[in-house]
Each structure stands twice: as C-alpha cells, then as structure tokens.
Homo-oligomer: 345 residues x 2
Amino acid sequence: MDSHIPSPPTRRLSMGERENAIDRTIPLLPPAEEIDEFNYFDNNDPPEYLESLIHGAQEFVKFHKNDRVVLVTSGGTTVPLENQTVRFIDNFSAGTRGATSAEYFLEHGYAVIFLHRQFSLLPYSRHYSHSTNCFLDFMEEKNSKVIVDPIYQEEMLMVLRKYQHAKDHNLLLLLPFTTINQYLHTLRALSVTLRPLKSRALFYLAAAVSDFFVPLHRIPEHKIQSKAGGSKLVMNLDPVPKFLHRLVDKWAPGAMIVSFKLETDSSILLSKARQALERYSHQLVVGNLLQTRKREVVFVEPGKTELWIRLTPAQEAAGVDIESLIIPAIVERHDIWINKSKNSA
Amino acid sequence: MDSHIPSPPTRRLSMGERENAIDRTIPLLPPAEEIDEFNYFDNNDPPEYLESLIHGAQEFVKFHKNDRVVLVTSGGTTVPLENQTVRFIDNFSAGTRGATSAEYFLEHGYAVIFLHRQFSLLPYSRHYSHSTNCFLDFMEEKNSKVIVDPIYQEEMLMVLRKYQHAKDHNLLLLLPFTTINQYLHTLRALSVTLRPLKSRALFYLAAAVSDFFVPLHRIPEHKIQSKAGGSKLVMNLDPVPKFLHRLVDKWAPGAMIVSFKLETDSSILLSKARQALERYSHQLVVGNLLQTRKREVVFVEPGKTELWIRLTPAQEAAGVDIESLIIPAIVERHDIWINKSKNSA
C-alpha cells in the first residue's frame, strides 16, 4: 500500500522559453461596465437546483437571524469546454483553506454557510479524506465488528464531537457548486439571502474562481474530437465578469467582505492585492503565494500598512493551522465593522 | 447538513449555436510518426519520483511472478496551463470505473497495480468517500468512544475484510499520478516492468487521458494574469502523442491490452472504437457513452461483431455494478489469450 505523492513539475523555464509563453491576444476590450455583469446573468441561466438550495439557505438565515453568519466559499470553479462535459478547465484547490477556516469560524461562534466545490475538502471530515491514507486504514476488525483503531480514537472523538455540535445546533450549511456559472449564480442569490443580517454577515471568499470562461453559445454540444495525426486545439476564452463590485454595492450592502488573492510571483502579490482593494472598495484582501500559503498570508486593508501573518517555525513543526491565526484576526475586524455600523445607524 | 448535488448543465445547443462551436485550427499536420512518441519522452522529463515508484512496482511484480497481474489506470489526467500550476485542463472522471473494476479483478484472483489520479476514488474506500455523506456520518459516540453506527456495521465489515485481505496478501499496489506527463512516463515504465509476465499481464486502461497538452516550452512560469476590463485568453494546445501503438508493439509485447473509448455522441461511438482497434491492433476496446456508462458498455474486438453488456432493469434497481459483468467477460478473454500464447510458444 505504498503510495508516493507526485509533486508538480519544478523545472523553471529559461528566459528564452518564457518568451515563448502561452499566446494571448491583446485586443484590449473596453473596461468592464456594470452592464457586463447584468449581461452575464441574463445570458447564462441559473442552475435548475438553485431555487431549492436557496430555500434551505433562507431557512438557515432565519434560524440565525440574531447571530453572526459567515459565507465561506471554497475550492476551485470549473469552466466546461463541452456541453456534455468531458473536459473542463479547473483551478488548483483542494479546499483546505476554506474547510479549515470554517472550523475556526464555528469555534468563534459563527454560523457557517459553506459554499464549496463538490468533493473538495469539508470541515471536520477533511481530517480523514484526501490523505494518502485510505479511510479504512483508520479502522480494524475486533470480535467480528469494525472498530476505530485505538491509536486514532482520541483524536477522532474530538473531531466527531465538534462535528456533532455543529450538526445538532444547525450551525453548518453545506452547499456545493462545480462550474463557474453555478458558483456565480449561487453567490448572488446567497448575498441577497444574507442581506437582512446587515453588518453581521461576513463574506470570506476563499474559492479559486476562474478568470476566463467559454460563453454558453460557444460551447460545443459533444466531446471535442481529436484528429489522428494531430491537429492542434485552439481555445478562445472570455474574461469572467468581475462580480465583487456588485457584491459590495448592491447584493449585500452592509456586510463585511474579505477576498483572497493567490499569486505565484511574489513581486506582484502586494500590488495585485492593493489593486483589488481599490477597485472594489471592500474591507480586506488576504494575499497569499501558492508556494507559502500554508505558513504565511498578508492582510491588505484600506489606509493601512500591510500586515503579515506567519506561523513561527515551532508552530509549523507542530502542525498548527495558519487559519487558527487568520480567523481571530478577521473576527476582531468584524467586531469593529459591526460597531461602526451600529454607530452610524 | 442538507446538500444538493449540482447536475451538469443540460440545455442543448440549437443548430445555430452549434455552428458557433469552439474554434479549432484545421492546419492538418502530417500524421503522427513513431518518432513523435520518442520525441515526447525526450522533450518532457520524467517526474522525479518515478524511479522510487517503479522500484516498488518491480518488487510487486517479482512477488507475483507466477500470478496474473492487471494494471488498472483510473481517473483523469490534468494538463497544466502554468508552470507553478494554478490552472489546468482536466478530464471528467471520479475514477468510479477503475476503482470498481479493481475490486472485481481482485475477486478473480488478480494482483492489481492501480495507477490512479491522486484523490480519485480507490478500491474499497470508494464506498465511503466522494459521497454526499461525510465520512463522520457513519460514526457515532458511545461511552466516550467513537464507534461505527450499527446500521453500517455489517456492510463496512465486509468491505474492510476484503481490503485487509488485499493488503495482507500484497495484492494491491496504489500508484498515483496527476498530470498527463506523469501518467505517460509512469505507464511506459510500468509496461517494461510488467514485461516478464508476458501474456499473464493485462492492461485495463480506464483512465481518461487528455488528447491535447501544452508543451513544456510554452508553459508560462507564473499564473496567467487576467486584465482589468477583459482581454480574452487564447490557448494553443498540441495533440498528445498516441502511445497505444508503442504499448502493443514495444513496451509490453505479449500482454493483453484493453482500452476504453468514452463518447457523448452515440452515433460515432462504434466507429471510433473500431478505428482505435484498427489503428493500434490491440485486443479489446470497451466503448461507453457518458450518459449511460453505468448501465451499458460495448465490447469491440477484432473480427467479431460488437457485444453489448447491459444491466437488466432489475439489476440496475438493485444497484449492481456493471463492472461485475465486465470483469468476468474480460477474464474469459484473458484465459483464451494466455492459452493461445502458450500454444504458439
């Protein structure tokens, strides 16, 4: 049962190779107008299940009408390249950040709506899935019964108790998505659902959202055929409309909004984060690099110097989740946000 | 804990929309030569972990030198679009066919090398993962211990016993891949490793392998930047070299080879399957449609009429795996293949 974990290719490209980098047309289209976002929702139908999903969310929000509710988005959105989807473009994300963060929000007394990529990591069960161990490796047979291997008893009991507490008190609502279209429609509808909570609603947008998509009218119905002898495939993708501005302005005015910025090039991380903040006028961008995202992130906020949050080497060695530092820092900012809203009301 | 499962978009495109289907250049390149496949391996480095992975496989094959060994490939390969991969093209596949088939091969006395997409479904554990249920939903607390919910005891015991049997008798080797490059290099190396078994080796190629990829020299080092206001993204992909011919001819001569053909358009399934068989001169193509793959497949073999294998409505209602019909039919053909090889030796 040995299992080696493949690591992504690490070879760096030479300067010459970089110049051969992926082709991109540069016919700069006019900057996106608000109308683009309306157009998106007009031209791309909502998923059929949306209504019943939102009904569940409404019940949840009603139940928590006096509580703080965080919407955590998690995992990568897919961009289907075919109508009956065999192939799609995906974003790297197991959902670790979102699933772990949800647990710490629950510990801080929040009710959590967990909008996640289907089959990505979930709060609590993440401890036993997507590992190199098979779930059955935690179990053994004794007197013709399956029992939990005593080695894992204590830890699993702690996890199970927290999970049961969240279930018993209706504190965790799991809502899935797969495609970028499902994600955008669901996010919009949930934002409206959360509106009555005003400043007690928190958006924690950790999902890896596609920047490009294939508009519905250009998606072929059937699997793209490969030709013997090798014709090339050329794909034209459109930019996904930037929805954060609408979220701040219209969908959920009053809520506190935290977005994430993931980069691989450290030299542009801060400027990209600052740019997002200026463009959308929301409250916080959490910047992180793919390579170091499990041990450091940076908070970028309007009118403040950036704040790095880092695990100490000792914390790292002990396997401390960096989310155990991120969430309290966000909750602190949410306290201030709520108080400010009260005072201005 | 309600969880609605998003279904893929079902809207069918109109004729007009279909004509607007995805752009593809049609500059027909010369048909792929054998040299293309050599070129591929020369120009795309093997993953760093390959040597140690193959060492494990060699030990496994030595251990089973008098047994039948099947290499089951499972799950979809990814095509990285960036060097430090944030985005990639993926193929739809949870790995159900491969993981389920592996279990039935084990029941038929085969040793199984399971070459699978990392985090796709695994034999036995598949019964408890990628479900809408969280794994913790199978557990409960009793006297301060985590126990298996009595409702699931009996079934889980059966699954655990089979899993333990495979582990205790060294019958199942789990080897992961993620990218198309890792897959191709590993498949080639495993084929050579299996060569000593001659006709007792069986290749069951159920993985969803990308048809197109971005050659290493064209992959940008960093995350592709989206531009404010929306420039489009144009991607150029090359065809993946067809490797089946080499597998049959050079890498594993003597082995029996089964490949899969997945389509969404029923009108071309049989011709595509027959074409693959003629092109590669192997023993069996299992054709299936995305829409009906869990209840019917078609065997396409040289010089024979196609054979449909279908679940009866009663079997379907009872949740019978179609792999419980597919595997015995393949084992039967493998018996004949081994006998033929003996007689001609």
